[in-house]
Amino acid sequence: MIEAVGLRKVYRLKGREVLALDGVDLHVRQGEIFGVVGQSGAGKSTLLRCVNLLERPTEGRVSVDGAELTALGGARLRAARRGIGMVHQHFALLSSRTVAGNVAFPLEIAGVPRAERRARVGELLDLVGLADKARAHPAQLSGGQKQRVGIARALASRPKVLLSDEATSALDPQTTESILDLLRRLNRELGLTILLITHEMDVIKRICDSAAIMADGAFLESGRVLDLLAAPGSRLARSLFPLPATDAPDVVTLTYTGKPDEPLMSELTRRFDVDINILGGAVEQVSDQSVGRLNVQIQGERREAALTYLHGKGLLVEVAG
């Protein structure tokens, strides 16, 4: 749905060059939620702004829903942008307009007649649960309500793609949760493809199907979240399941997705006569699957055989350290 190839972006400031994107390839499948996570300054916002050409990439191509945006300009680019919704960290609502007026704005831009606008605004406010706030001004709303208005506005022209720049970063944890739930619901019910950027790992864990970790203008890893977690040396796994460092001997890190259908640990002690000591770990819901990651000390004569057995059972076994 979103294809970006070889994106580079160089900002030229007085006498200085900032390389904000350094060869990014982004592939977002239709109907998925793709999260880009990284620290401040990694280039996430620049990447997102290159997707709808708010920022023109220095090099590379961007296509959304089959249309190559980097080849467009003027009226055709504006038309293409109407098919891409965007939500902003600081909401970016018009303070001079009511909630209904804000949601109607993209429809005005698109030249939708008044009566139709009104009906559509009603639907949208119902969708985000703000029907009773239609006549309020943004200044009278809480942060979460403002972001719901932002989301309703982004959906007004029935886009297939939604871009979200830190949509929940200005919100408290509970509100964040409700906004993420809303995004998940819109993704499922409307088949909306969502590209979101965030600096919070938790967002990736809660709603993303795919993810990329970004640093210094490049992707360190990218793919389906469950695939990334199951890959050796995964940074995503380390970030989502931080395990306490250990200098104990014979420790391995085990990662598994889905519930193991056998009591593996007792099986290990019985079969291989090894001593098992669980040092730390966590089990969490990721992409609607339970994923666990444990640091386990396994000692005994037949340790290697035990590890091979675990590997054979589909667990990712990594030597910790």
Partner: protein
């Protein structure tokens, strides 16, 4: 309290003079306000739009416009009035009277208002402008539906300041025969040493300014939703 009695006796004679003077002042100020908005508003929009990273980036144009505005702003009004006399004659056929005064008043107030417009527009959240681009808005739409409405309270406040400045300029215009309350203060108060006229014009000017300011404040309060 002898002066009060004398003032009471003279009031019937003074009143028509002061009333006509007030009407002349309002006439000059209203027309000058109209022209000031007509030219100053687009000029202010251009000052912001031609920024690097603005709607129509054009640093050279911005530099020229900025320089012109600064020249206009740095001329004392009394000097400006004399400097544009020939233009005034060209446009109005005369250099005397309230209609002639509209020309220097407008020319003096346009750069003043343009800077206030510029300041008000710069207050508009850049994120909102970017969001409008992301929605596929044309630049003219962004000016008309985002920049100006979002800055409206600031624009009205700037307009009030401009009108007050115009009232004070218009009194100066009286000094070279522009008519209005300033003219009365000079002809009766200064040249004939008639303090009653002097203080009465002061009182009338204060009332007009106060009325404009209060009206503006009410408008600004009703329009801001921050």
């Amino acid at each position: 309290m002898a002066w009060l009695t004398e003032f009471g006796e003279r009031w019937p004679d003074m009143w028509p003079v002061l009333w006509l003077g007030t009407l002349d002042t309002l006439y000059m100020v209203l027309w000058a306000t109209l022209f000031t908005v007509l030219f100053g508003l687009p000029l202010g929009v251009l000052l912001v739009a031609t920024d690097r990273g603005g709607l129509i980036p054009a640093p050279a144009v911005k530099a020229v416009l900025g320089a012109v505005v600064n020249v206009g702003r740095s001329l004392p009004f009394i000097v400006l009035m004399v400097a544009v006399l020939s233009l005034t004659r060209l446009l109005t056929g005369t250099t005397l009277g309230p209609t002639a005064a509209i020309v220097p008043l407008s020319i003096g107030a346009i750069p003043f208002f343009a800077r206030l417009v510029e300041t008000a527009l710069r207050e508009v959240d850049r994120g909102v402008i970017e969001a409008s681009h992301a929605m596929g808005a044309r630049r003219i739409t962004i000016v008309g539906k985002v920049l100006l409405p979002e800055a409206l309270p600031g624009l009205i406040a700037g307009l009030v300041m401009t009108v007050v400045a115009l009232i004070s300029y218009s009194a100066m215009a009286g000094a070279i025969g522009g008519g209005g309350l300033g003219d009365i203060a000079i002809r009766y108060g200064y040249q004939r040493f008639d303090d009653y006229y002097l203080w009465a014009t002061v009182a009338f000017l204060v009332i007009v300014v106060q009325a404009v300011q209060s009206l503006g404040d009410v408008l600004v309060r009703r329009l801001s939703h921050r």
